[in-house]
Subunit: 141 residues, 2 copies
DNA sequence: TCTATTGTTTGTAACGATTACAAACTGCAC
DNA sequence: GTGCAGTTTGTAATCGTTACAAACAATAGA
């Protein structure tokens, strides 16, 4: 159990990323990184901030999520064309996705092994391999 | 080489799916299913229809793509939150995706093997496993 | 062949998520 | 403290997609 001081933790991450530690970024960073791995949408994080008494505009939430993603602090997960999810788990891993209610769950990288993969086309490299396991209720959906 | 009469082919598919063979559905069906496997967006198919001299509204293109998908004639591919792709290849297979230009390419099902997969959570079944191999230019993107 | 019925198509308005933008604001270096 | 570059904000704009009601067309039956 390596519990660190949340504040300093987020502040450090911002510094390393070269992002000015503003009140908004610190607050969103703490919401995102304190506690376990999370999957959030911009809208959801904005609501959460409001409820936590933090005043941040939706535009800033979008900006921040993208900056964090650019800095490698977050990862974008594409599973649903309706909304964009951001994942605080930036390690190699995959996802379970329940279309019915939009629930997203991590699958540890070592729980999925890919035995064979075609080579990338000429002049291209594989940037990442995403495995999405789509789930449905046992009753059919 | 099993080249069949396109018209009849599409007409047959519609009949089997219980979809009334209207002028619009037949035209879109022919654009989609004549020739090899394709990946289209609603917008792109609409343009293509216009250029082919077929008058179809964008609303109908959307309706038709969804009906075809519901009937199992098409498959929806989620790789990019900006737009929805429809794939005429409904066999078990996966995809290469180049984010830069939105290019999507099939990977035959037997070219990807998954060695290990976690069990679905309680009360859930695995509906499908999607593997998306994201590509970038060798130069970095 | 005509007709009624039901399924389709259409244009357009509405929507929801996301981005653009210019003005106001705030860290931070000097 | 000041000034500047980086940030935030509210709002308008954008974009793909869906909703909707009216016009239309395919089909079964008379």
């Amino acid at each position: 159990m390596t519990q660190e001081r949340p504040y300093t933790q987020t502040l450090g991450r911002l510094r390393e990323a070269g992002l000015r530690p503003t009140r908004q970024r610190l607050a969103l960073g703490r919401l995102l990184f304190d506690g376990g791995d999370r999957h959030v949408t911009a809208e959801a994080l904005h609501d959460e901030a409001q409820k936590a008494g933090v005043s941040v505009s939706l535009a800033t939430v979008y900006n921040t999520l993208h900056q964090f993603t650019g800095a490698g602090l977050l990862r974008e997960v594409v599973v649903d064309s309706a909304r964009t999810y951001f994942d605080t788990n930036i390690e190699d891993h995959h996802h379970f996705f329940v279309e019915k209610d939009g629930a997203l769950m991590d699958i540890a990288g070592h729980d999925v092994t890919i035995g064979k993969l075609p080579a990338a086309p000429d002049g291209m490299d594989i940037a990442r391999v995403d495995v999405i396991v789509r789930l449905q209720d046992r009753t059919g959906k």
